[in-house]
C-alpha cells in the first residue's frame, strides 16, 4: 500500500541520497564553473568602479555571496540538525555535520574580504560593530558545533548534543541580518532589496547575482561531496556501500 510518508522515507535514505547526489554533482560542477567564468569576467572587467569606493567595490562580488552563503547554510544546518533530533533521521545529522566546515569557510571568507574591503573604504581593517561582531560569533558557532560534535566518543550522542547548539545558534541569524538597521554602523545596508528598484548599477547587479549563484552552487557541491563521504563512512557496514565501493 502506498503510504503518504513514503517520499519522506525515501528522501531520508542515505543510499538514495548517495545515488542521486552522484548523478547531480557533475552537472552542478559544470554550471558552477561556467558561472564563475562569466561572473569573474563581469565582476573584474566589465562592471564599472563605484563612484565613491573606486575599484574596491569589486570585493563585493565575493564578500556578499559568501556572507549570504554563511547565513543560508547555517539555517540549513540548524534545520537538518532539528530534523535529525526530532525524527531521529540519520541522513539529516550527516548533512548537518557536513555543512559545518563549509559554512565556517564561507563565514571566514566573508570576514576576511570584509576586512580587506574596510581598509581602503573605511580606513580600518576591523571595527567591533554589531554586523561584524555577530558574523564573528557565527564563525565561532560553526567551530563550536564541530568541536562539540567531535568531543563525543559516541557519534550519535555528538549529533544530538551539537544539534542543540546549532538550533539555539539560529537566534544569531536575524541579529546579523538586521544589525545594520538596528545599530549605528560604518557597514553599508543591503545592496539588493526584495522591495523596490535596486540602487545599484546594472552591470554590477549582473556580476553580483551571477557570483551569488556561483558561490551558492559551489558550496552546495562541496556540501554534497562532504555528505557522501559521511554516508559511506557511517554506513560502511551496509551491503550497498560495499557493493558500490567494490564495483
Amino acid at each position: 500500500m502506498k503510504n503518504k510518508w513514503q517520499w519522506f522515507h525515501r528522501l531520508s535514505s542515505p543510499k538514495w541520497f548517495y545515488e542521486i547526489s552522484g548523478e547531480w554533482l557533475p552537472w552542478i560542477w559544470t554550471i558552477t564553473i561556467l558561472l564563475f567564468a562569466f561572473g569573474l569576467y563581469q565582476g573584474l572587467y566589465v562592471s564599472p568602479p563605484d563612484y565613491q569606493q573606486g575599484n574596491s567595490v569589486r570585493i563585493m562580488y565575493i564578500h556578499v555571496p559568501t556572507a549570504f552563503a554563511s547565513l543560508f547554510f547555517y539555517v540549513v544546518m540548524a534545520v537538518a540538525a532539528a530534523i535529525g533530533y526530532i525524527w531521529r533521521i540519520k541522513l539529516a545529522h550527516m548533512a548537518a555535520i557536513s555543512i559545518a566546515p563549509i559554512g565556517a569557510a564561507m563565514t571566514f571568507i566573508a570576514l576576511f574580504t570584509g576586512s580587506f574591503w574596510g581598509r581602503p573604504t573605511w580606513g580600518t581593517w576591523w571595527i567591533w560593530d554589531a554586523r561584524i561582531t555577530s558574523e564573528l560569533i557565527l564563525l565561532f558557532l560553526y567551530i563550536g558545533y564541530i568541536a562539540l560534535h567531535d568531543a563525543y566518543e559516541d557519534r550519535e550522542v555528538g549529533d544530538r548534543a551539537a544539534g542543540i547548539l546549532a538550533m539555539v545558534g539560529v537566534v544569531n541569524i536575524p541579529i546579523i541580518h538586521y544589525s545594520v538597521y538596528w545599530w549605528n554602523t560604518l557597514h553599508q545596508g543591503a545592496t539588493i532589496s526584495k522591495f523596490g528598484k535596486p540602487s545599484i548599477d546594472e552591470q554590477m547587479l549582473v556580476a553580483l547575482l551571477v557570483m551569488i549563484v556561483a558561490i551558492m552552487l559551489f558550496a552546495t557541491a562541496a556540501v554534497l561531496m562532504r555528505t557522501r563521504i559521511e554516508i559511506i563512512d557511517r554506513e560502511s557496514h551496509k551491503k550497498w556501500v560495499k557493493e558500490v565501493l567494490e564495483s
Binding site: 573606486g54 575599484n55 574596491s56 571568507i109 581602503p120 562541496a222 565501493l245 567494490e246
Partner: protein
C-alpha cells in the same frame, strides 16, 4: 585599459587581488581536501572488506 592598469585597479589592486586569491586558494583547497578524504576512506574500507572476506573464508 592596459594589463598593468587592470592589475593596479586604480591603486586598490592589493586589497582586491588578496581577496580573490585567498578565496580561490580556500575554494580549491576545500575540494582537494574533500577528494583526499574520500580517497583515504574508500581505501580504508576496501582494505577492511578484504580482511573480512579472508576471515569469513577461513570459518
Amino acid at each position: 585599459m592596459s594589463f598593468a592598469e587592470f592589475i593596479d585597479m586604480g591603486g586598490q589592486g592589493f586589497y582586491i587581488w588578496t581577496c580573490y586569491i585567498v578565496t580561490l586558494v580556500l575554494f580549491v583547497g576545500m575540494v582537494v581536501i574533500l577528494k583526499l578524504k574520500q580517497k583515504k576512506l574508500v581505501l580504508k574500507l576496501l582494505r577492511r572488506y578484504r580482511t573480512q572476506k579472508i576471515h569469513n573464508d577461513k570459518i
